[in-house]
Symmetry: C2
Subunit: 502 residues, 2 copies
């Protein structure tokens, strides 16, 4: 009996994963060139597939299987993959069952409308248009936190969707230390009078050559073209359809070398993770990253810790010059390294440099936390937002389009998502510190363009495990300690002190 | 109650159609560049989606709904779309339920293996390797005909899958007249001593220019690029995902102008059909062609009756010369028209010209019919095949790879498919004759490149109706009479008599 249940259960999870894969292909297709007129019907089809998968998730049958498989004796006899599948599925089942289906339907419609309204409001820089929608979305999220439950802070219930186990208490501590050290560092950098020339990065760079160089670099990093492909989209993304099919997209700006180059490396980092998940997890719910934060750590590791490092360009600058002799023929490694790392407080998160980026995230985190706990109200957001930008970054938006309206996340209801971006940076710095201890010639490997051992180390320690472990357990296993933001702080201090001769 | 059943039923059909759309996108993706390593898992996902759709089709619930909706009072109160949906679904339900699921599973595995074996057998030109598989496939198809039932001839039960209502009795008559007239005509053409120069069609034609000209031509014909896209694949195809998303593919041969040009026009003909199905049918099971034969008539109409006609090149030859001045600068309209219509008996169906093509089909039809009725046996096929080629076309294969092993259809179990190709030609000729009566300036429109009225006529008479009518009813409504092969015969006689001064 138990054996049969276990097979039925795992088979059902494979079915759910197959729905997710199909939906993934359909979304990829929509974003990479599906004809405009087919979109309404395609959206119906995507909705149908998602609904079918959701029905399987919340079925009574699923509840019964989970109960049976969770009994100590039965659970103990399961394989590790099965045990972890039970854990992950139970969480999904319980959270999904706690939201009444009417409420969920209303919320899906609300956020879908809100995204359109947000787009218009941003266009016209008019927060008041978006405000009533955001108020409702915040209300729903407050209700969700009550339905899901939490120990200390209602926002914990939302964080759990993106980084299971992450809490306000932990984040306050992690971010607190970052803010304490970063705000003065940003000020020092601003005052340092070293302001690198970046003009050579903004010249005409033929798209075809940009594409060729990007492809060359991702292959150097270890992206497997037989298990992926590169396309162009408005907003770059990576999508893991299955372990043998992990695609990335990029956008080539004709007058900007670095946008596509570093966004391609970023997405390639996400893709390396999923291409290297163990084959035995392929087709199961465990064939994904351990959390949003850990996933982001891999994109940021390759983008920043490797791609924006000096040794990397000591190796690849001469080749970059060969691709663009007219534009970069007389640019030195140092000049290039300084230019791509120019740091300066700014208003727009997605254009922010490595140093100031975490302050953008922190502002959003603090606002989300207080919105969900009811300490602040939606109507006051523009004022709060602008004040915080002034306090942390020393810049103040003059229009809401450049301020509180800049990101789509809240319109889509993604409360709890933003912290993953900074968690990614923290995880990446900590993992990088471990790697440097274990791969003694880490810097020399990058200088020689021998990136294989670095990828292999990550594959062995991180990638192949998929979501076999909870993030906190995982980071402890990989680095020997719990997440600590001091690695990120040390990295930023060291890098930017050197760059700005502080 | 009846209202509710009717809604549940139509909703379920939309769900089945959505599964088909998703599977369609996944197949398109596999053929246009999905990474190799993702294929095994993707195949699992496709299999899952097909199985889910099939389960809905054969569910007891579906049987109950069909029974209720078929009661005269209830049926009479349905809309035309609902009535036709009941008809089509009942046929699917009944045919699917009649095959025991074990038998169906075995057959799916058999044909999947047989396709691989056929590939190897063709490579080595060794029919005996393929023979045991083909014997089993024929046996299964004989069993299917008994399970499905038929009035006169068992092959009728198979034909019904491709052109509902088509029978051996009708085909024997249609093909009989074609053979009677065509075999001597082919001989006359062969003896005519007029053999056009085709050497200028086989020169280097840069792929990018071929692509540009093909795109120009399909837009002239009326292909809507906002409801479609053109990609490259090994074997060209068209796929209607929904009414607003009908894609075509082509293959550019670097030394051959006509392959991609006419295959693109052919696929574009299929696509025009599906792009112009009435919006109210979008997402229903009726959003497809009326039958394989009628679908093929639209690809052949545009490819042959328009694209390979003299007036078409009177209009477009000068532009073709502008795309390829070096290759075609001194080629006249007449020389081009003669070259693209060169007719000559040959061994390979897919390379055959318009005149001899139908004889290739007829040979396959006669063989299939006798295989299914048991009049001939699989082991004798090579001999029978070669004899028929000698009799009808005056050529004899020296190897089975160029003979009985050339097509994949039988390995895939598609008995009853081949006749659609010739039915397509017959339908096209008959429809074209009607159009010429109704659009008095038909030829002048083509000469002026005003293809809009032609497309509109077809959209109004044929395309918008999707599969609202059975093929026989449909052709009678469009042309005022039942299908008659004399239109095709007249067309071929007229065209090739003129070309060969007979």
């Amino acid at each position: 009996m138990a054996v049969e249940v276990r097979e039925l259960f795992m088979e059902q999870l494979r079915r759910i994963k197959s729905y997710e894969e199909a939906v993934g292909v359909l979304y990829w297709d929509l974003r990479t060139g599906a004809p405009r007129k087919g979109v309404p019907q395609r959206s119906q089809t995507i909705g149908m597939l998602q609904t079918e998968a959701f029905k399987l998730t919340i079925a009574d049958e699923m509840g019964e299987w989970l109960e049976q498989l969770s009994k100590p004796d039965t659970y103990g006899a399961l394989t590790e993959v099965e045990q972890r599948s039970v854990e992950i599925m139970r969480r999904r089942y319980e959270r999904s069952r706690k939201i009444p289906s009417d409420m969920f339907q209303e919320y899906v419609i609300l956020t879908s409308e809100a995204e359109s309204v947000w787009e218009e409001a941003k266009q016209e820089s008019d927060f008041t248009r978006f405000q009533p929608y955001l108020e409702k979305i915040v209300d729903y999220n407050r209700k969700f936190t009550e339905l899901w439950g939490y120990e200390d802070h209602p926002y914990d219930a939302l964080l759990d969707d993106y980084d299971p186990g992450m809490t306000v208490r932990k984040l306050d501590e992690l971010f607190g230390r970052v803010r304490e050290q970063l705000v003065p560092l940003v000020q020092q950098v601003k005052d340092s009078r070293i302001s690198p020339d970046v003009s050579f990065l903004k010249q005409p760079f033929p798209k075809e050559k940009q594409r060729a160089f990007s492809e060359y670099i991702v292959k150097q990093i270890g992206y497997d073209m037989a298990a992926g492909r590169i396309d162009e989209t408005e907003h770059p993304f990576a999508t893991g359809l299955n372990v043998g099919d992990v695609r990335i997209t990029t956008r080539f700006k004709p007058d900007d070398l670095t946008f596509s180059l570093f966004s391609t490396i970023h997405e390639c980092g996400h893709a390396l993770y999923e291409q290297n998940i163990a084959e035995e997890l392929n087709g199961t719910l465990l064939a994904e990253g351990a959390s949003y934060g850990i996933h982001e750590s891999q994109s940021r590791f390759w983008e920043i810790f490797v791609g924006m490092s000096r040794p990397f360009w000591q190796r690849y600058m001469s080749e970059l010059r060969e691709y663009f002799p007219e534009q970069l023929g007389d640019v030195s490694v140092d000049a290039f390294y300084q230019a791509i790392n120019k740091a300066e407080p700014s208003l727009i998160r997605i254009e922010a440099d490595e140093l100031t980026y975490n302050l953008h995230i922190m502002i959003r985190y603090e606002i989300e936390k207080q919105l969900i706990s009811g300490q602040i109200e939606v109507k006051d957001l523009p004022q709060i937002w602008n004040d915080k930008y002034e306090e942390y970054l020393g810049v103040r938006p003059s229009r809401d389009a450049e301020g509180v309206l800049q990101d789509v996340h809240w319109a889509g209801g993604s409360f709890g998502y933003f912290p993953s971006y900074s968690l990614g940076n923290m995880y990446a710095a900590q993992i990088c510190a471990t790697m440097k201890r274990e791969l003694r010639d880490y810097t020399a490997l990058i200088e020689r363009g021998e990136l294989g051992p670095i990828k292999d180390w990550l594959a062995e320690r991180i990638y192949r495990h998929g979501s076999m472990m909870r993030p906190e357990q995982f980071i402890a296993q990989v680095t020997g300690e719990e997440l600590d933001s001091r690695y990120l702080i040390e990295h930023l201090k060291e890098k930017f002190s050197e760059l700005h001769e502080l």
